[in-house]
Every structure is written in C-alpha cells, then in structure tokens.
C-alpha cells in the first residue's frame, strides 16, 4: 500500500511539474485619455519627454532583440540611457546572440508571452504575411501613425519608402531601417599590389602599362591582368618568401561583398549573389545572359591556371581577412576597402573595373567594362515589429518614433555623442566623428556601443546633421570613380518588393531550390569548366518547372510591375 501511495505521489509530481509551466502577469492597458491625464502622455513635441515621472515608474516595455556578439547589453548602452532620460519611457531589453535569434525567431513570434516588440526582427515579407496578414499577431502600425510625427513625415516625404514598407493589404506591420550612403549598391573594389606589379612591369611580363600608371584608377584589360597574375603566380616564392598562403587573385565566394561578381563585369554582365537585376524595367536573370557561358569559361581558365586560388571558393570571410594580415600574401583581391584586409594598404592601388578579353569562344568583349550591381537594400523593411496585444502601444510607438530623429539615428547607428561623436558640433552644426581610443578601431567602438537597427540616415541627414566618417567618404569617392560610373543607365538593383499570398507560395516552393541549384552548379562550372552542351542542359533544367526559375521570374516581374507603376 505504501508503494502505491508513493507511486501516486510521483505521478502527481509529474503532472504538477508539467502543469507548472504557465502563468504570467497581465499589465493594464490605459485609454488614451487616462494616459494623457495620469501619465502626461504627449507625442507632438519631440524635444519633450513622452511621459511624466509617474509614467516612467509605472509604464514599461519588454523588448526582445538580437545583438552583435561584441555589443554591450542594450540596457547598458549610453544611447538607451539618453533615450530614457529624454522620454521617460522605460524599456527593458532582452538580448540574445544573432545566431540564437535566427532559430528562436519563429518561436518568439508564435509565443510572445511577456514580449512587447522585437527589435532587429529581420522579418521577411513571407513572415509578415504569415504573422501580420494571416495570423494577425502583429500590430498594424499605420493605424497609429498620428503618434509618430517623425516617421509620418518620412513617409510623406518619401513615397518610395512608404511603398516598400506597406504590405499588399495596405498595412504597415514593421518599421524600417534607412541608411542611405550609397555604399551598398556596388559591393566590391579591386585592389592590386603595387610593388609586385612594378616588378612585373620591370620584368616585361606585362605590356601596355608603365610604372607611372600604378596609382588609383588604373584600368587593366583582361589580358594585362592575366599577365600580371601569371607573373605573380610564377614568382610567388621570390615575391613573398613564404609560398603557402600566397594568392594571386582572391575573394570570398558568393559573399555579400568582396565577391567574384565584378569579374563578370568584363563580359558586360552586372551579376550579383541573387543573379537577378532590373534591366530596362524588366526583372532579368544574369545567368540567362548570352555572355554568361563565355564568362564562366574564361574565369574557369584563370582558376585552372591557378591565378584564382581555389581556396577563394572554400574560405570564410574570417579566413580571408586573417590570411591577408602579416607578410603580404595577396596579389590582388576584391573587398570594400583595403584597410581591413591587409596591414599595409598604402601598397595596394584601387583599380577601375577590368576590361573584357578580346577573344573568348570567338566573341570579342574588349569594350565591356562594368561591375556587380548588388541587391543589398539601403532600406531594410521588417526591422522592428510590435505585437498586437501590447498595452499602451501608443507610448511605445511614440518612443520608437524618436529613433528616426537625425541625431538619435546617428547615435543609434554609430555610438553615443562623447564616444563616437565629438561633443562639439562643427562650423556647420554637424556631428563630427571622434577618433576612437588608442586600443580600439572605429569598427570595434561602433559594434560595442551602437545598437544599430531603427534609424533614418538619408542623403538630407548627411548634408545637415551628421558629417560622414572619413572611411565612408573615401569609399564613396572610390565607388563613384571606379564603380558607379561603369554601371549602365538601364540597369538597377531589385528593390524591396511586396508579394501577394499566391506569389509568396510560389517563391517558398521554388526559391531555396533555385538558390542551391545555381550556387552548386555555377561553383562546379567555375572550378571545373563546362562544355556548351552541359551549359545548355543546365539552362533548360533551370527554366523547367522542376527547378522553376521561369515561375519565380514571373512572380518577381509582377511584383516589380506593381512597384514601378505606382511611381
């Protein structure tokens, strides 16, 4: 009998433990009148607090957010303290690492007990459809625009932003991040080792260029580049001393920047990681371009000759950066700047895009000279979402609206005044970047002290409120000289598009497959070469209903058509 009792007790304990996971507090939601009367809620004047002292004590929000590994806890960030002092809105941050967030996102969207909003939400249009339009878990923010004077002004001024954040049902379910510096469209720059190239010229390994030409903006033809790289390759031991990590030309395969797609520019193709661009107002797939086969065979010939080391297809971004440090190992490389890659950036010149080869499979590309046009958006939609059942949501929206004020945006994106920016404004009244402490780089300082995320830094803000940091200025300068100039007028990146449910179903069905199919086959062809027959069957298969590129192209075309017609 005693045993039975014991078993019963254990059974009860199990049931109780299972039932124990539950409960939670309910916070009261106040009417607008109550908020105004009791807590001094105001939103019109962005220079005054949103709530009074009582509101700071009694109203609070819990926000879930991923954060960069090197960033401080968001509760400890200076800018968050400043925002609290300015607004009296208390926000408690719950940080998780970026890698964990990727997997916890769907769970948190499904069961958001105790969470009012997700910062750095990174919702795709598919997720917005699922959780906003279908499940109705997300707050339609457009119904509360009156509480967001700054954001409302942005939407009024910028129809393109409004179009990109508005879902097909006419609601806005997520707040965007806008950082328009013009840095993202062309993600690569070609850097060439000056000393080594000089040796190649001295050894008469390359014709048509003189030592005096070795400065930024050097234009090389494919043949000259090949000659230089061949010289590097054949003399690696005398050039570096250590042969093992030597790379004539290197990049990071299919990376969002520093990738190989500028090479396809030699053939007049504006390729990118999606292999999709807008050409003459139509969605076009670069792989379907006539010249692509020639491009692949030609680049493969460089791989075969060892001019492009195969490790470029294998290495991660970290390997690439680590290997560039110390003794010089890179003859030429693609990256967005040389400073992060090599220890002596002075020795690397920034080249103009390569000119195409004279004869590939009987075709002449010597007039082709263009670059990668990426679809990296400067406006990222889906940066912040708020759950529908959040109490006192007007207050929270008024609070996030402050993030769109120019000076706050700058601090959100770069770090607080006093640390990332000088306390004193310059003669034009603009914020000026401050030199980082001796033991830190600008990047480290920024990653540690800036949460990034919600901000609005448009061209206008750069002109009036914030002085661009020197590195960004240098890069902008280089980009406009050596990259943007070479993009034909009829080629544009694909903007953020909004899809209907049926369209999204087609995309979910095919997009992953297409991505894998392209990635896998193009890599194989680039490394091992491809015959014309194989190329044709690759294209046929790609367009077939099995892989489904033509279906996806139709969907993008329809969505882009809607986007373009509203302009």
């Amino acid at each position: 009998m005693k045993k039975l009792l014991m078993i019963g007790a254990i059974g009860c304990a199990v049931v109780l433990t299972l039932a124990g996971c539950g409960g939670g507090e309910q916070r009261p939601s106040n009417s607008l009148e109550a908020l105004k009367a009791d807590y001094g809620f105001q939103w019109e004047d962005s220079s005054k607090p949103i709530l009074n002292e009582k509101g700071a004590q009694e109203i609070g929000f819990h926000i879930y957010s991923s954060k960069n590994a090197s960033a401080k806890d968001y509760n400890d960030l200076d800018i968050m303290q400043t925002l609290y002092e300015d607004t009296n809105v208390y926000v408690e941050w719950e940080n998780v690492s970026e890698s964990i967030y990727g997997e916890s996102k769907t769970l948190k969207l499904g069961n958001h007990k105790g969470i009012d909003a997700i910062y750095h939400a990174g919702l795709s249009s598919n997720e917005i459809l699922t959780y906003g339009i279908k499940r109705k878990v997300l707050l339609p923010i457009d119904e509360y625009l009156d509480y967001m004077p700054n954001f409302k002004r942005i939407l009024n001024d910028r129809a393109d932003i409004e179009k990109q954040v508005t879902s097909t049902d006419g609601h806005i379910y997520a707040l965007p991040r806008v950082e328009e510096m013009g840095l993202l469209q062309n993600p690569n720059l070609l850097f060439l080792n000056k000393t080594w190239t000089k040796q190649a010229i001295d050894a008469k390994a390359v014709t048509g260029i003189a030592e005096a030409d070795l400065k930024d903006g050097l234009t090389l033809t494919a043949e000259q580049m090949e000659a230089i790289l061949t010289y590097f390759k054949n003399n690696s031991s005398s050039l570096t001393g250590v042969g093992d990590n030597f790379r004539p030309l290197t990049f990071v395969n299919n990376n969002w920047q520093g990738n190989q797609y500028d090479l396809y520019g030699m053939f007049g193709i504006n390729d990118n990681t999606d292999h999709m661009i807008v050409k003459d107002g139509q969605i076009a797939y670069t792989v379907l371009d006539e010249a692509y086969f020639d491009a692949v065979t030609y680049i493969n010939s460089w791989v075969k000759k060892g001019l492009i080391d195969q490790v470029s297809f294998e290495q991660s971004q970290d390997n690439f950066l680590a290997n560039g440090k110390g003794a010089e190992q890179y003859g030429a490389f693609y990256w967005w700047e040389s400073e992060t890659v090599v220890d002596n950036p002075e020795n690397y010149i920034c080249c103009a895009p390569l000119k195409g080869p004279k004869n590939v499979n009987g075709h002449d590309y010597s007039n082709c000279q263009t670059v990668c046009v990426s679809n990296n958006p400067e406006i990222s939609t889906g940066e912040l979402i708020i759950f529908k059942d959040t109490p006192n949501v007007e207050v929270l929206l008024a609070y996030f609206d402050r993030y769109y004020m120019p000076e706050i945006s700058a601090q959100i994106n770069y770090g607080p005044i006093g640390l990332a920016f000088e306390e004193e404004r310059d003669a034009n009244g603009k914020l000026v970047a401050k030199n980082p402490p001796a033991d830190m780089t600008t990047d480290e300082l920024r990653l540690q002290n800036a949460p990034l995320g919600l901000c609005y830094l448009s061209g206008e803000v750069w002109n009036t409120t914030v002085e661009m940091e020197p590195r960004a200025k240098l890069r902008l300068d280089r980009l406009s000289k050596y990259e943007a100039n070479f993009v034909p007028a009829n080629v544009k990146p694909v903007p953020n598009l909004q899809f209907t449910e049926a369209e999204l179903n087609t995309l979910t069905r095919y997009q992953t497959n297409i991505g894998n199919y392209l990635l896998n086959n193009l890599l194989k062809f680039t490394r091992n070469g491809v015959t014309a027959g194989d190329w044709e069957s690759f294209k046929t298969e790609l367009l077939s209903t099995r892989v489904g590129l033509s279906e996806v192209q139709k969907v993008y075309q329809a969505a882009y058509g809607r986007y373009a017609s509203e302009n």
Binding site: K3, I7, G11, V14, G102, E103, K105, T106, L107, L109, G110, N111, H112, E127, T130, Y131, R135, V137, D244, N245, N253, N254, D309, Q310, V311, F313, E314, T508, R509, T512, N513, N516, L519, N520, L523, K524, R527, R546, V547
Partner: protein
C-alpha cells in the same frame, strides 16, 4: 507452440521464488480451461508477478510521456503550421505538404543522397566493430588488448564540432594532407569542394570515431564464450581462424543479428549535425540529405508543417526497413526483436 514453451520456462524460473510458488496450483487441478477474464492466463500471471511488474512502471511512464504523448505533434504535418497556432484548430491543408515534397525536384536527390550515405556507412561501419572485437578477443597478450581498447575508444569522446574542425584543418586546401600531397609532387585537392570527397570523408571519419566504441558490446558478448568450447576445438585440431569461425562467431550471432536489425531500422535516420557542419556550396549536391533538408525548412525557413511531413515520411521508411529486417532475420536465424 513457441509461446507455451516460453511460459513453461518462465514458470520454471519463478518456482524458485517463494512468494509466488503457491499460486501455480489451482489451474493444474481443475484441468478444464476456463474462459472468464478473472481466471485467464493474463490475470493469473499478473497476480503472480505484480511485484515485478511494478519495476516496469517508471519505464512505461517515461516512454509514454516522452515518446507517445508528443506524437500528437505529427498532426502539424497536415497543416500550414507556424509556432503559436493551435494544433487542434489549425490551418488544415490535408496532404498538401506531402504532395509538395514528392513533387519537388529535390525529392529523389534527397532520397538518393540519404540512402547512399547511410548504406555506405553501414556497409563499412557494421562489420568493422565485429572484426575489431574478435581481433581484440583473440589477442593473447591481455595487456595489449586493454591498451588498444582504450586507444580505440578515445575518438568517441571528441565532440562533433571539434571533429569537423579537425577535418577542415587536415583536409582543407592548405591543410596537412594537401601539404603532404604537394610535397610529394601531387596537385592540391579541395576535399571540401569536391562532391566525390564528401561521402568517403564523412563515412571514414564517423567510423574512425566510433568503431572502438561500437565494438564494446561484441567484446562483452565474446567474453561470455565458454573457455571449454575453445579447449574442445583445440583438441579437435582447430586452427585459430577456425575457432573464430566456429566458436566465437556463432556465440555472438544473436547479438549481431539484433544489432543488425537495429542498424537497418535506423538506417535512414542519420543525424543532420555533422552533415550540416561539413556542407559547402561545392558538395551540397551530395551532402543535402533528408535530415538537413528538414532542418533548413523547419528551423531556417520556419515551415514547421512541411518539415514535419518530410520527417514523418522519413520515419515511415525507417519503420518499413525495420519490419523487413526483422522478418528476414526471424525467418533465417530465429533471432528477432519482436
């Protein structure tokens, strides 16, 4: 026939135990079979053995809670499910998830990749521990046996991530193996980019890691072989190899067949972790298997319903394989799981 035999044996065993010895009498006396539930064999046995059955309760509870209750989750295979939806009143879509998967062009590729990876791993990985166990068992010097056994078990304790990290270090384009290849005049070879290198690397590293550990069960079985049988065989003039063939192997055959059935049952159930760690854009054509596909669709793309449907399909294949293996084994060797 067989069941009766088992029962008599069971009774024979339990007779030695005092508290149940007195119960066996009434049925034997009455002679005629009774059909009421109360007097059935079940109740009869239960009354006699209930105190032993109590020991089963924790196992039954744990299995029920962690293996049977969660099965209701399979319902989401028939729904357009995202976490947070109610499973009972969800977005039912019937067999759409299954039709999508079967119609997907990756279907046969996934099946082929999974099957090949598993079957090749099985062909090499199943006999290896048996051979190792027999070899260790027949080694005369017991000190060497113990030493080798410890050495063989070592790799089992290397964590998966570390193991794959080691593979990248050794087989990377500028890793140890390639340095040796180049210094002996060969061409550097991108093991991680070549489709052909993925399966050998995966299978051999897995087997290297686990052959020692898996051999433990066979070593245990071998140590139960009667020494007198070996002596008798020696007197009959059997060589060492003949003794392995006719004494050792028959003795561990029941264990081998049970292990065989279990491995075949789990054949398609290869884990996704190691494959995912070793996956690159270059080898994705052979390294995309059902498990990694389920992970990508379910966790990364958030398509829980679809991923569950694919996983369920995989489990059904496993179940069918298990039943086939069990039936075959029952017919040919009279050893089986059920």
């Amino acid at each position: 026939m067989q069941t009766k035999l088992v029962e008599t044996q069971a009774e024979g065993v339990s007779e030695g135990i005092p508290q149940s010895a007195d119960v066996a009498v009434p049925e034997a006396v009455s002679g005629a079979p009774r059909h009421s539930f109360q007097d059935s064999n079940f109740v009869h046995n239960f009354k006699r053995n209930w105190s032993y059955l109590l020991f089963l309760i924790p196992a039954v509870i744990v299995t029920f809670i962690f293996a049977y209750i969660p099965m209701y989750g399979l319902l989401i295979a028939f729904q357009d499910f995202v976490p947070g939806d109610s499973i009972w009143t969800g977005y039912w879509i019937g067999f759409d998830n299954f039709t999508e998967f079967f119609g997907n062009y990756v279907f046969w590729e996934l099946m082929g990749n999974t099957f090949l990876l598993c079957i090749l791993g099985f062909i090499i990985g199943f006999p290896l521990p048996i051979i190792v166990a027999v070899m260790l068992h027949t080694t005369r010097n017991k000190k060497i046996t113990k030493f080798l056994q410890t050495v063989f078990n070592g790799p089992h304790f290397i964590s998966l991530v570390v193991l794959v990290g080691m593979l990248y270090l050794f087989f990377g384009r500028y890793g140890l193996v390639n340095n040796i290849i180049e210094s002996t005049g060969g061409e550097r070879f991108s093991f991680f980019l070549e489709e052909g290198a993925f399966r050998p690397m995966y299978i051999l590293s897995s087997n290297w890691q686990d052959f020692g550990w898996s051999s433990i069960i066979y070593i245990a079985a071998l140590s139960g072989v009667e020494q007198s049988q070996h002596e008798a065989a020696m007197i009959d003039g059997a060589s060492r190899f003949q003794r392995i063939l006719h004494v050792d192997l028959p003795a561990i055959m029941p264990i081998i067949s049970v292990m065989l059935i279990m491995s075949i049952g789990g054949l398609m159930g290869v884990g996704y972790e190691k494959v995912l760690l070793m996956q690159t854009d270059g080898n994705i054509g052979v390294s995309e298997i059902i498990a990694t596909y389920v992970y990508k669709q379910g966790i990364q793309n958030g398509r829980a319903g679809y991923a569950t449907a694919v996983g369920l399909f995989n489990s059904v294949i496993n179940l069918i394989l298990l039943i086939i293996a069990n039936t075959v084994s029952k017919r040919f060797s009279e050893n089986s799981l059920f």
